[in-house]
């Protein structure tokens, strides 16, 4: 299994590794550019932050509550790096799954893979692992590195203005942020399963244009149900369908959607004020929701179907 996943990494080095690295790089670059712009504009308008230790005094005057806000802002800076990466990760995983069992059929290299003593089940599962574990782990590691660099850049900038950097940095919770991000991965595996299953199934089944099938099938069904709904026929559960079938089958590969349109946020005890809704204790509330587990079951079923098609699809 290790080698199968490694094989996936070789094939998709671009998406799994370079995409987050480049995104992170661009993110940092934009930040630096923004800071430089601010400095230049500030200098040209004669605004001089804390040159005489003014800013330092402001900080010294802050009470503990204010300081924790500063810490929170720094945490947000770290999360924000991750946020961009998460969007990229979502797209990478989405298209990876669509191509995973299709591209090798198209270029006939499936004949080579199938000449090796590897069961179709392990082939498909290696792709699930690549999509739900390998890709997010790389993205999170890159995200943490980028987040740290981001903090460092802020710290250095501030230190030019005579602000005691360490005093601020101890207010941030880089390790808590890291822990939350890494800890989110297992939840992502479960949450993304229906999407991954559906996309892999389309990838293994479609004779051509898996993207079209993967998107058109649930959307068309949804539209049909809505149409009947509008005419008042059959009384089909249209909102339910859009929320639980269309969204879950297509968008669950985007991390964090579990907390967004899953039920967790509504029951969340988390508090936006101190970002505790990102804590595992709160994200893992999702485990209590039947939505998640039904999705896992559906995903497993779709994967079984994908394995079956991988085994018997014969179009060469």
């Amino acid at each position: 299994m290790f080698w199968l996943v490694k094989r996936e990494f070789w094939e998709h080095r671009g998406g799994f590794f370079w995409a987050p690295v480049i995104t992170g790089g661009v993110f940092l670059l934009l930040n630096i550019m923004g800071i430089i712009t601010a400095e230049v504009l500030g200098a040209s308008h004669g605004i001089r932050f804390g040159a005489s230790g003014g800013l330092q005094r402001v900080i010294a005057d802050m009470d503990a509550g204010d300081l924790s806000k500063v810490g929170m802002a720094l945490d947000v800076a770290m999360y924000s790096a991750m946020g961009l990466l998460i969007v990229v990760l979502g797209f990478v995983v989405f298209f990876y799954c669509l191509g995973a069992l299709y591209d090798d059929r198209r270029d006939r290299s499936i004949m080579f893979w199938k000449s090796l003593p590897i069961s179709d089940a392990s082939t498909v599962l290696s792709k699930v692992v690549s999509a739900t574990v390998l890709a997010p782990v790389i993205a999170v590691i890159v995200g943490i590195v980028v987040g740290m660099l981001q903090l460092l850049i802020l710290a250095i900038t501030l230190s030019f203005h005579g602000v005691n950097v360490w005093q601020l940095l101890v207010q941030a919770h880089p390790f808590r942020v890291m822990f939350n991000l890494i800890g989110y991965i297992p939840l992502y595996v479960l949450w993304a399963l229906p999407s991954v299953g559906w996309l892999l199934l389309c990838s293994a089944w479609a004779r051509n244009k898996p993207f079209l099938w993967a998107v058109a099938l649930p959307v068309a069904t949804g539209l049909l149900i809505s149409w009947f709904g509008i005419m008042g026929l059959f009384n089909l559960p249209m909102t339910w369908f859009w929320e639980n079938v269309v969204q879950r089958s297509l968008f669950s590969v985007f991390p964090g959607t579990g907390s967004l349109f899953g039920s967790s946020l509504r029951h969340s005890t988390g508090n936006v004020e101190n970002l505790s809704f990102m804590d595992l204790g709160s994200t893992y509330h999702l485990l209590a929701s039947p939505d998640l587990w039904i999705g896992v079951l559906a995903g497993a079923g779709l994967l079984v179907a994908a394995i079956w098609f991988r085994r018997w699809r014969d179009d060469s």
């Binding site: 070789w10 006939r108 290299s109 000449s115 003593p117 014969d314």
Partner: protein, 285 residues
């Protein structure tokens, strides 16, 4: 001698065509079998059935396995090169060697590297940067390093220049084949495999029309060059085929005794391609 493949009553129906029509045959170990037939005769379907890549009706036993149910185990003992372009284009030489070495229990890495040393392939080279000939060299190096019992080649030399083609079969014979291995090869370039085959199978419209070892083929089929004056006598013996060369007629006979034919003219062993053309007459008509 043990039997590698036993097929009985093998059939495969595609939407409108019958690709395999109740085919039965046996292939013993230690043979090199040429599976030869016109386009669309069912060669590839037969190979895919043997490899468990397609469903079919009938009984098929390959090395003691049912290819439909035990494909994973079967593929530990079987190798195949299906066509020139099946290695994934993104992979590097070093990666594919690493990968096969780690997933295939019967792969001998040192052997593979020795084969690769004889070629111009570089470890960092990607398949997409290689010529067709080099891709086949790589594939062959991988396959020859696997100690498999059965090797299946489906048009392995399609699109290669003559140097690569000669080298391909030479490597196969010198460094790979032995009495424990069996090779099944399909090709349109019959002349090239003619001298290495031990058995011949002709397939036409999903049926096996000839299944014999090369010695038997040599005894059964005889070509005679007959002068014009004896041509009518020859025609009465019901030849498979007749063609004219330099004012003489060349007749191809199936199962007519050698003594009788020697009286008609100079006899010789027909080439497989002539035999093939004669057997397949009217296929596309």
């Amino acid at each position: 001698m043990s039997t590698v493949i036993t097929a009985s009553g093998l059939s495969k129906q595609y939407k409108s065509t019958l690709a395999l029509d109740n085919v039965s045959f046996q292939i013993p170990a230690g043979r090199i079998v040429g599976l030869i037939g016109p386009n669309g005769a069912g060669k590839t379907t037969a190979l895919k059935a043997i490899l468990g890549l397609t469903d079919f009706t009938g009984e098929l036993n390959v090395l003691g396995f049912d290819p439909r149910k035990q494909r994973d185990k079967l593929m530990g003992e079987v190798c195949f090169i299906a066509d020139v372009a099946v290695l994934p284009r993104w992979i590097r030489v070093s990666e594919v060697v690493d990968f096969v070495a780690n997933v295939h229990p019967r792969f001998n890495r040192a052997k593979c590297e020795a084969f690769l040393k004889r070629t111009k392939l570089q470890p960092g080279q990607r398949v997409r940067q290689m010529s067709k000939g080099m891709i086949v060299q790589l594939h062959l190096a991988l396959v020859m390093a696997i100690d498999a019992k059965l090797l299946i080649l489906d048009e392995p030399t399609l699109g290669l220049d003559i140097l690569y083609r000669k080298q391909f079969y030479q490597n196969l014979l010198e460094d790979y084949f032995d009495e424990h291995k069996t090779i099944i090869v399909t090709t349109h370039q019959v002349e090239e495999v003619e001298h290495i085959l031990t058995d011949l199978m002709f397939i036409r419209d999903g049926k096996i029309v000839l299944d014999a070892d090369m010695d038997a083929v040599g005894e059964r089929f005889i070509e005679v060059m007959v002068n014009a004056d004896k041509a009518d006598t020859a025609r009465q013996l019901k030849p498979l085929d007749e063609r004219q060369v330099f004012g003489k007629s060349i007749f191809l006979f199936d199962g007519v005794s050698r003594d009788v034919l020697e009286q008609l003219g100079e006899i010789r062993r027909p080439s497989i391609s002539d035999l093939f053309v004669a057997t397949m007459k009217g296929t596309y008509a």
